[in-house]
């Protein structure tokens, strides 16, 4: 099961940075490629991820299962795909109303990217919860997980900027990312049905102790 979680975290990391990089391309026709456009995008992604971490951690308190984990990926895919159809109209709407391209780009990146990025931010803490069995190994597990998901992010950045934009249109890449997230949802869903699941008490108890100790 651990291998599946790592694959999920890797794809999550890959998708986040690929989307962030595409964000610059999506906004440029309306808001330019000035430094503040990138500032807007990075702000929105960092903010969304921070909220996603918080929510993912909260969600992991309530009977974490691979099935629920699959729903996170499904939700990310469902919220990502509409960008293909609606980002143009949304940017036109904002461009006509917000004259200053700094706030225009900030608003546009917010409207376009907050929801999918918050959901993708939930993946990391949820993964930690799925993997950690005892407090002793929690740091080690979290370290490996950050390694895997950040490796995914770096490859997502590289693949998108070096190759994907040369081979495909932006909307095609967004569709591919959506398919990737759906595939991960399917993988998690199938694994939850057929894979071995640990009895709840075994992996919940030590963490509950730790929480008590901390409190």
């Amino acid at each position: 099961m651990a291998a599946i979680i790592y694959i999920l975290a890797f794809v999550g990391g890959f998708s986040i940075m690929s989307l962030e990089l595409l964000g610059g391309r999506v906004l440029a026709p309306y808001f330019g490629s000035s430094i503040y456009v990138w500032g807007s995008i990075i702000t929105v992604f960092m903010l969304s991820l921070s909220v996603g971490y918080l929510l993912g951690g909260r969600l992991s308190l309530h009977q974490p299962t691979l099935g629920r984990f699959a729903l996170i990926f499904l939700g990310a895919a469902i919220c990502l795909y509409p960008l293909v159809y609606f980002s143009e109209d949304i940017m036109v709407w904002i461009f006509e109303r917000v004259v200053d391209p700094r706030y225009g780009s900030l608003l546009a990146s917010g409207v376009l990217f907050i929801v999918p990025t918050v959901i993708m931010g939930m993946i990391s803490p949820y993964s930690v919860r799925m993997l950690v069995k005892t407090t002793d190994q929690s740091g080690h597990v979290a370290g490996i997980l950050y390694f895997v998901s950040t490796l995914g992010s770096s490859l997502g950045t590289l693949a998108t900027s070096f190759y994907l934009i040369l081979w495909f249109e932006i909307n095609t890449i967004l569709t591919l990312l959506t398919c990737g997230l759906l595939a991960m949802a399917a993988l998690a869903g199938i694994a939850s049905r057929f894979g071995p699941t640990l009895p709840r008490s075994q992996h919940a108890a030590p963490l509950a102790d730790a929480a008590e100790e901390a409190a």
């Binding site: 391309r25 309306y30 330019g32 000035s34 040369l166």
Partner: protein, 301 residues
């Protein structure tokens, strides 16, 4: 320790670079700054002042000015851009994207005392440097905007502005803004042109990008004049919002403009010979769009 050793290392590298390139050693760097968008370097060789956007020695100059003859256009491309006047000899409003040393807007400001110009430059530092070192001191008819060219064009189009001449000079050798080379951008530019108005684009004659850029202009404007100097790698595209004039009409306009342009070193006879509409590119190359515009990757090939 680290911050102390760095200047020493830079000095050593600079000394090495200077000894390795004796021809370049006569050029003296008189100003250098890292702006938000590029590394601005101004060097001086004899009376010639040049603006570059990188310290790399093979980097081509963006803009040069001979201080003894400040009006004279030093580069082929600047003269090629002025050939746009053969298509639109009496512009009333001019838009320029990309300032550089300000050569083109300054010349146009002096040549046409009635013309109102808008100049858009993304980097405020470039505007400052042009004023300080390149005698960019235009009349009050010239408005300079420090913003992204695409945003300016899109906004101007929604406000119903029109221009008779649009100069696209926003590319440096290092990085090409992808959103300034797409079909959608050129359609927005065309929408800003008055009937018969002209767009002049300073771009590149080499690399894989050539085919893609050519089919994109063709898709938006139809046939265009394609001026190339292969020795210097310069290419200027002159396209019109309407039919292109024939050679006889342009030769006649050249006569009328000759005296006005002579102080700038612009001679129309060689330019007329370069004004060719024959496609010399692969017509099957993909049109660049906002969805597909890997121009910096293509430029590297």
């Amino acid at each position: 320790m680290r911050h102390r050793s760095l200047p020493g290392l830079t000095g050593l590298l600079l000394a090495l670079a200077l000894t390795a390139l004796p021809a370049a050693s006569q050029a003296r760097i008189i100003h250098q700054e890292n702006s938000l968008y590029s590394n601005i370097v101004i060097d001086k060789r004899g009376p010639v002042l040049c603006l570059q956007f990188s310290v790399r020695r093979d980097q081509r100059n963006q803009s040069c000015m001979n201080e003894r003859k400040p009006k004279e256009m030093v580069f082929d491309y600047a003269r090629m851009m002025m050939a746009s006047l053969l298509i639109e000899p009496e512009p009333k409003r001019i838009l320029t994207l990309g300032l550089g040393g300000g050569t083109l807007p300054m010349a146009l400001d002096e040549i046409f005392p009635e013309v109102r110009q808008d100049v858009v430059e993304i980097d405020p530092a470039v505007v400052r440097v042009a004023r300080e070192y390149f005698r960019f001191a235009p009349s009050e008819r010239v408005n300079v905007f420090a913003q992204d060219g695409r945003v300016f064009v899109k906004r101007a189009a929604t406000q119903g502005e029109t221009y008779d001449l649009i100069m696209l000079d926003a590319f440096n050798g290092e990085y090409i803004p992808e959103h300034l080379m797409t079909r959608e951008f050129l359609e927005e530019v065309r929408a800003l042109l008055a009937p018969g108005g002209v767009v002049a684009a300073n771009t590149f004659s080499i690399s894989d990008l050539y085919d893609h850029e050519s089919v994109t202009y063709q898709a938006v404007f139809g046939p265009f004049f394609n001026l190339r100097t292969d020795a210097s790698g310069n290419r200027v595209i002159l396209a019109a919002n309407g039919p292109l004039p024939d050679r006889a009409a342009m030769a006649e306009r050249a006569e009328g403009l000759a005296d006005l342009l002579a102080p700038y070193g612009v001679e129309f006879a060689p330019l007329l010979d370069m004004m060719d509409t024959t496609p010399d590119w692969d017509p099957d190359a993909a049109v660049l769009t906002d969805q597909y515009s890997p121009v910096n990757l293509l430029q590297g090939r």
